[in-house]
């Protein structure tokens, strides 16, 4: 990685605290992401990983601290404006739109002009059409494009949602447990999908599945009780006594 030249910095979470009436889901938490980087965030259940995504995307508002995207504060912007700046998130529970077809789900995601007065019409620009077909292809849902998304199997829903997040063209993708409920083969395929994005996107992945994390071969940030615990390669994190204690402490 090329040092940390200021121009490489895409996201910085700076001393953020999320307070649920006294309980701090995030406690003075900080981290940064560079352009093109893939980062894995792990931590025991309840460590605050989903809350970190919630904070970046504007679903919850920090009582302290700032979130900077491309150098600008975004922690007070409405959700759709944060998305418009180039951040998109896959939720932990699959969030596809159940009564829309798979293709329409992707069409909404790929749409560039999201203003309401541009919505009167059925025509779809050629580049958006292409983006939708590519997204279908990439997650192997082309043959399912016409069915209602609510009828998909759990794994297919996960992929559809990942494809939606990718189709938005966002620069920063937040993937909250993208392999939850997937078998080993599906998990590998998801890893390939993320690796296939290359340097063009910055990706923050939250996951428990260590084989998945290994396949991603990305730096790992460990969280515990809303705080930053450790950062390093998978091997380093695995060998770390503190990290082991945290996980053991929770499973014991």
């Amino acid at each position: 990685m090329s040092g940390s030249a200021v121009s490489d910095l895409l996201l910085s979470v700076d001393g953020v605290t999320i307070d649920y009436s006294g309980f701090k889901a995030l406690d003075n938490f900080s981290m940064t992401l560079n352009r093109g980087e893939t980062r894995v965030v792990i931590g025991p259940n309840g460590a605050g990983k989903s809350t970190l995504c919630d904070t970046i995307i504007g679903r919850v508002r920090p009582s302290q601290g700032r979130v900077l995207f491309k150098g600008e504060e975004i922690q007070r912007l409405p959700e759709q404006q944060i998305v418009a700046r180039g951040i998109c998130r896959k939720f932990q529970a699959p969030g596809v739109l159940p009564t829309l077809s798979v293709r329409d789900n992707l069409g909404l995601a790929a749409r560039k002009d999201r203003r309401w007065w541009k919505s009167f019409g059925a025509g779809i620009p050629a580049d958006e059409k292409r983006a939708v077909e590519e997204a279908l292809e990439s997650v192997g849902l082309t043959h399912r494009a016409g069915v209602e998304a609510g009828t998909l199997a759990h794994g297919e829903k996960q992929w559809l949602e990942i494809a939606m997040v990718m189709a938005t063209g966002a620069e920063l993708l937040l993937l909250d447990e993208p392999t939850a409920g997937m078998g080993p083969a599906e998990t590998s395929r998801t890893a390939q999908l993320i690796l296939g994005l290359g340097d063009s996107r910055t990706v923050l992945v939250i996951d428990h599945d260590m084989s998945f994390v290994e396949q991603l071969a990305a730096p790992v940030t460990v969280m515990h009780q809303g705080k930053f615990l450790k950062q390093g390669s998978i091997a380093e994190v695995r060998a770390d006594a503190e990290v082991a204690a945290v996980y053991l402490g929770h499973t014991a």
Partner: protein
């Protein structure tokens, strides 16, 4: 859910069947029955708007009577003034002790102003009202309750200002509209044709709208408003526009209804009638435009038959019907036609 609708022969022909019936009716029905049918068709125009907001937008409004009433009162004001010898004021104002028209009545003597008011006032009120609620992210049951409160406030206001609104009795005794005598048979069938044309235009326009990206986004916001936000859309304007369109259709329906019925009154636009409007659509099928028209026609036909014989029975019967449909046929009668009851 497999798409059974394509297998079913009735679904694509239902709108054409309705149109054929609409075209034949003037030659088959007595003037009295034709007038009745025209009233129900005017209600069908309002019902189409409920398919848009309730079926596809997930927005339950228990206050459509307000917009129906705004359209109805607008045309009623015009007809009251049109029939008046110059310099006089409507008789109910005289009885209430007034000696001049309220200022806001005056422009309704112009036909152009009246038509503009029918189209614009309900739309604008619907847009402002729904924006005020939706932009605070209030929705669901709370929204339904607020619309019901609006219906109550509106009918109460009309009743309490008897001197300028005609109060509980409403406005009636109209003789002509835009120069046509209402008692002549030609006017009756002419108004029927106007209603049929408006109903068809509304049907085609909504069908187009629901198939457009706007319709897709409205359904998306119904299924997951937050999901839509996190895809970068602001759902509020989509919901507000849908609500305004439904209000406009209710206003047009109200104006046409008033022409056919020869009366507009708080009893036709208050809380209970507003709930009945939802029942038409629940029974006909809230996802289906044709279903909603059928619902409005059938329920009102039944209401006419039952309430002339047993006036007290109607409300109970309607309640039972509503519960039956909501529990067993969430897609209404249209769901039966489409082969999917659930």
């Amino acid at each position: 859910m497999p798409d059974l609708s394509r297998l079913d022969p009735l679904k694509p022909v239902l709108p054409w069947l309705l149109l054929a019936l609409g075209l034949v009716a003037p030659f088959a029905l007595s003037a009295y029955d034709l007038n009745l049918l025209a009233r129900f068709m005017a209600m069908g125009i309002l019902a189409l708007g409920l398919v848009l907001i309730w079926g596809h937008g997930g927005i339950l409004s228990l206050g459509q009577g307000v917009f129906f009433g705004l359209g109805g009162y607008a045309i009623a004001l015009h007809m009251k003034l049109a029939d008046l010898p110059s310099g006089e004021i409507p008789d109910f104002m005289v009885w209430s002790g007034r000696d001049s028209l309220p200022f806001w009545w005056i422009p309704f003597s112009s036909p152009a102003f009246t038509i503009a008011a029918i189209l614009i006032v309900p739309t604008l009120v619907g847009a402002l009202f729904s924006w005020a609620v939706f932009h605070r992210r209030v929705g669901g049951t709370y929204f339904a309750l607020i619309t019901q409160a609006l219906a109550l406030a509106f009918s109460t206001l009309i009743i309490s200002r008897q001197d300028v609104t005609g109060g509980f009795n409403g406005l009636t005794d109209f003789y002509s509209v835009f120069g046509f005598g209402l008692s002549s048979p030609g006017t009756g069938s002419g108004l029927y044709w106007v209603t049929l044309v408006v109903l068809c235009i509304a049907f085609v326009a909504l069908r187009w709208l629901l198939a457009s990206r706007f319709g897709i986004l409205l359904r998306a916001a119904r299924d997951g408003e937050n999901r839509v936000r996190f895809l970068g859309y602001s759902p509020t304007p989509f919901k507000v526009v849908a609500f305004a369109i439904a209000a406009m259709l209710a206003g047009i329906g109200g104006a046409l209804f008033t022409l056919h019925a020869g009366v507009v009154s708080p009893a036709l636009i208050g809380v209970v009638p507003s709930i009945e409007m939802v029942v038409w659509v629940a029974i006909g099928g809230r996802y289906s435009l044709a279903g909603a028209i059928v619902g409005a026609l059938l329920v009102n036909l039944a209401r006419d038959a039952v309430s002339s014989a047993f006036p007290e029975l109607w409300l109970y019967l309607m309640g039972v019907l509503f519960i039956f449909v909501v529990t067993l046929l969430p897609r209404g009668l249209a769901g039966l036609v489409q082969g999917k009851a659930a």
